[in-house]
Amino acid sequence: MGVMRMGYAHVRVTDMGEAKDHYANTMGLYETRSDVTAEGNKRTFYKGWDEWDHHSVVLEEGGVGVVKYGWKVEYEHDLEDIEKKAREFGLTVERMSKGDNPEIGDGIRFTTPSDHVFEVYHEATAIGTEVGTHNPDAFPRHLVGVGAPALDHSLITAEDPALMQSMLEQVFGFFATERVQTSLDDDAHLIATWMTSTNQIHQLAVLEGPQSKLHHFAFRLGDWNEVGRAADLMAMDDVPIDVGPTRHGITRGQTVYFFDPSGNRNEVFAGGYLAYRDRPVSVWTPEQLGKGIFYHARELNDRFTTVLT
């Protein structure tokens, strides 16, 4: 089937000690590895409680913003297929070897038209979950803080969202579930697009803005109550909340946006309807964009659309 999900987000943090406190103690991720890169940067690897692969979040000390994303494919031959399609699209593709990323197998790497680095891989060391797979309980009993089960999606910015949409369609086989565009006309300008390869409402969204920037990466939660509880924990831990708790018009998801100790924007996201390839795409136009982004307040602010790392 090609790309199954965003397997990992690798981001930069200014201070590893503070970052670890946030991602481990507030978000409740499980640390699975820590090391130092050849350049001397500290790294920490995490997974959520409901993820079985070795890691889904990698923090690297030095700067802010996103280093790269990893995309996991179902079959080994998907790698060749995506490599071929990427070259056909005009991208420069390089091979990556098992061990280039700890616990991640062979794969390919390319830079997108938005200047983000994408890696595609098939194998990751499976370390399983505490509840296991044999008569599993509903969740681990001693979750920490928010206890996020999994990485969910990310939003990046690009000078040309339409070009990124084409790339994601042609190279990854993604489809759009929702779009923001200047009008309903055929020649309308695409402002943003929400894309996926599965029933998950979005795996990657692309918003018009500067190249190579991170708007946010999000963790999945179960429902409104969990989103509200996460916000309570952010108050207890002095995590700066950007927006929420509220609902998105786009995707219908329930959300809190907040910042990690380095200023990278995070989100907790629950709900969202099921995506299908044959479902008509929802289209938002600028006069209702406020409602599309923040369904209750219905007002966009500068900060949400321009604060990036």
Binding site: R12, T14, D15, E18, G63, V64, G65, P240, D242, F259, D260, P261, S262, G263, N264, R265, D302, R303, T306, V307, L308, T309
Partner: protein, 116 residues
Amino acid sequence: MPTVRIEPSGFVAHLQPGEPVLAGLNRCGFTVRQVGCRRGGCGFCKIDLVAGEVTYEKTVAESVLSAEEKTSGTCLTCRAIPEGDITLQIDNEDVSAKPTGLMKYLNQAVCGPTKE
């Protein structure tokens, strides 16, 4: 205790030792509307520093606040900690507001008698 004077409004906030400028202004009821991540990642809350000095105890990415900006009077308010009294210049009323309503009590509470 360090003070932060805002020009041209003349507002003076009394900060606690070690308190970042932005957090101190907020606590004293002064609104800086141009605020981003509050954690030094985006550079949205930079304000011109016209007198005094600030230090940065937490690491700030060079891409957010360059070495040149640090020495040329740019204050990344969410991370900057005053070294003594400082003065900031905010000419644009759209990005700042002196305390009104109940907010005006916030700064007084700090200036007034210490609570037992």
